[in-house]
């Protein structure tokens, strides 16, 4: 069974994607283990930028929403009554459905006495599969514009990646920013959560929120400090007080930022970045064995 590592952060822009892409390549190229990269930031997926390749396959993703069968509807209003999300409104002649408000709970279809509501698929975006020249498989999801709910698409991406990575040693999830629904969906099946933070009050505040949520899900959590200064003992202490270990620090380096800005692969170019990758990979392997 593959070992799943979620790279998350709370705050956006701390370096999740740069780390996910390069860690997956490092595991593959240096450790000669099979890694599959999965980009779960379906609102703004960026991992594919670094692989510089077009999708090999695209699958439509959808979620379940009710459709009503006019001939069966007696306009009794039960569905509108049971819907807690106001997605169904009893109108003069028949019920109106507001797909955007629907949470796909199935209550209306289940409780309609006439069987006049059936759940059907409604498109929310695409799941895409990329194959890079470096022989790395990436699976990502891209949410349609105006679509509000990203969790069903994150689920679809994970399902597709499970299908495709039966023989992978490691699955690396590049998680979305934030600390609630999308983040929870992206870490809930992981074996290890790596929080990438930056040593500022913003970074610490949001990492702490992300850690609190991951703890409620009983996840193993480790921290990586990005854009670190020479001495990060204060940040290390901040996390150790929450019972979370800092396993690596990547020093602040404008050259890495420039290289990233062009969508370049970082590993193999900067000694201390490679050293950090090596440390992180060691921890992952140890955790996978335990």
């Amino acid at each position: 069974m593959s070992f799943r590592v979620a790279i998350a952060s709370g705050k956006g822009g701390t370096g999740k994607t740069i780390l996910s892409v390069n860690l997956a390549l490092y595991i593959q190229e240096v450790l000669h283990k099979n890694a599959v990269l999965v980009d779960l930031d379906v609102e703004e997926p960026n991992s594919s930028i670094f692989l510089k390749t077009e999708p090999k396959e695209v699958f439509e993703a959808s979620r379940r929403v009710p459709k009503f069968i006019k001939s069966k509807c007696t306009n009794c209003g039960i569905c509108a009554n049971v819907c807690m999300f106001n997605a169904l409104i009893k109108a003069k002649e028949h019920v109106l459905i507001y797909k955007n408000l629907c949470h796909s709970c199935n209550a209306c279809a289940k409780l309609c006495p006439e069987g006049a509501l059936v759940m059907e698929n409604s498109r929310i975006g695409d799941v895409r599969v990329f194959e890079s020249e470096l022989n790395l498989t990436l699976i990502d999801g891209i949410l349609d514009l105006k679509e509000e709910m990203s969790t069903p698409l994150i689920e679809s991406v994970k399902r597709k990646s499970d299908e495709m990575s039966a023989d992978a040693d490691f699955i690396i999830y590049d998680s979305p920013p934030g600390t609630s629904c999308s983040y929870v969906e992206s870490i809930k099946d992981s074996d290890l959560v790596l929080i990438v933070t930056e040593p500022t009050p913003f970074g610490r505040n949001d990492s702490a929120l992300a850690i609190e949520t991951a703890k409620k899900l009983n996840k193993k959590i480790k921290v990586i400090i990005n854009r670190a200064d020479l001495n990060e003992s204060e940040t290390v202490k901040f996390f150790s007080e929450q019972g979370v270990q800092v396993i690596a620090a990547i020093n602040n380096n404008i050259k890495i930022a420039q290289s990233y800005s062009n969508g370049e692969i970082i590993f193999g170019k900067f000694d201390d970045f490679d050293k950090a990758l090596n440390k992180i990979a060691e921890v992952i392997i140890k955790e996978a064995q335990s």
Partner: protein, 290 residues
């Protein structure tokens, strides 16, 4: 009251640093709000003191009466969110995943499940040293409630604005293009997009820009860390020209941004030069937002 919303698509481009720096220079009657309810940070640089904290209830959560429950597993089977598991012949709700749809309550033959009001988070009013009110929120529920909480923060901010006859409401928004971003855009009169010249930043800018186009809201762009990649910065300017969006300003990469955050201060307070730059920026925003 004109509503100005700051978004970015990509996280970590500098939304909060820039919004905070504006708060330090504005002269008008104005209210600031933080709609990044998942990971709010604006209070860390301008919110000096909490004046009021109110609980925000939204939606429901299922509770099981373990005495009445006979462990029949109907709820477990029917829950669309996999949030109910029967252990020792009693249903247990995983609160992280329960969406509060109420289907289990309605199907339970033993009437052992009741829906309870859910405390989704809290709305927090801060006092700032600039004599400007700041409204923020913290999210406790981790499911799909952030849109509701965003709307609540905004409605509280509007009420406060009406009370003090404010001319502007400035909202520091979330990353992404999903539910909290869409909720942040409702009622906006002008949008500021803070971007960075990286391929990821540019790609995310284009997606959030397309979303805003649907809402037909006038948009200005700020290019942060503009010198990191002059080529991509030029592409962003060309994009802005084509889309008839004004580039309001650009900032070069400067450690003063991170240094200020580390001191829980805004960059406008760091140097006279920065202060003037943000005064000019605010003037331009006002002209554009008219």
């Amino acid at each position: 009251m004109k509503e100005i919303v700051v978004l970015s698509g990509k996280g970590g481009t500098g939304k909060t640093s820039i919004t905070g720096a504006l708060a330090a220079v504005v002269q008008e009657k104005i209210v600031f709000a933080d709609s990044d309810v998942d990971a709010s940070n604006l209070h860390l640089i301008i919110g000096d003191e909490i004046i009021k904290k109110e609980e925000f209830t939204s939606g429901y959560i299922a509770r099981v009466d373990s005495i009445l429950c006979n462990g029949c597993r109907i709820c477990e089977r029917e829950c669309a969110y996999d949030s109910i598991h029967v252990k020792n012949k009693t249903a247990e709700i995983n609160e992280m995943f329960c969406e509060g749809c109420g289907l289990c309550e309605k199907l339970c033959p033993a009437k052992a499940i009741k829906m309870d009001d859910l405390i989704a988070g809290s709305i927090i009013s801060y006092k700032t040293r600039f004599n400007i009110p700041l409204l923020g929120a913290s999210m406790t529920a981790k499911r799909e409630r952030s849109g509701k909480l965003v709307s609540e923060v905004k409605s509280k901010a509007r009420a406060l604005g009406a009370e003090i006859s404010a001319d502007y409401l400035v909202i520091d928004g979330p990353p992404g293009i999903g539910c909290p971003a869409i909720a942040s855009l409702g009622g906006a009169g002008y949008v500021i997009l803070v971007t960075e010249p990286t391929l990821s930043g540019f790609s995310d800018l284009k997606r959030v820009f397309s979303l805003i186009k649907y809402f037909r809201i006038k948009t200005g762009i700020i290019i942060n860390k503009a010198d990191i990649n002059p080529t991509v910065a030029r592409e962003i300017r060309d994009f802005a020209d084509n889309e008839k969006a004004k580039v309001l300003d650009q900032f070069f990469f400067d450690s003063i941004f991170a240094e200020s955050v580390k001191k829980n201060r805004t960059v406008s307070e760091a140097t006279e030069n920065m202060k003037r730059k943000f005064e000019n920026l605010w003037k331009k925003i006002k002209e554009e937002a008219e």
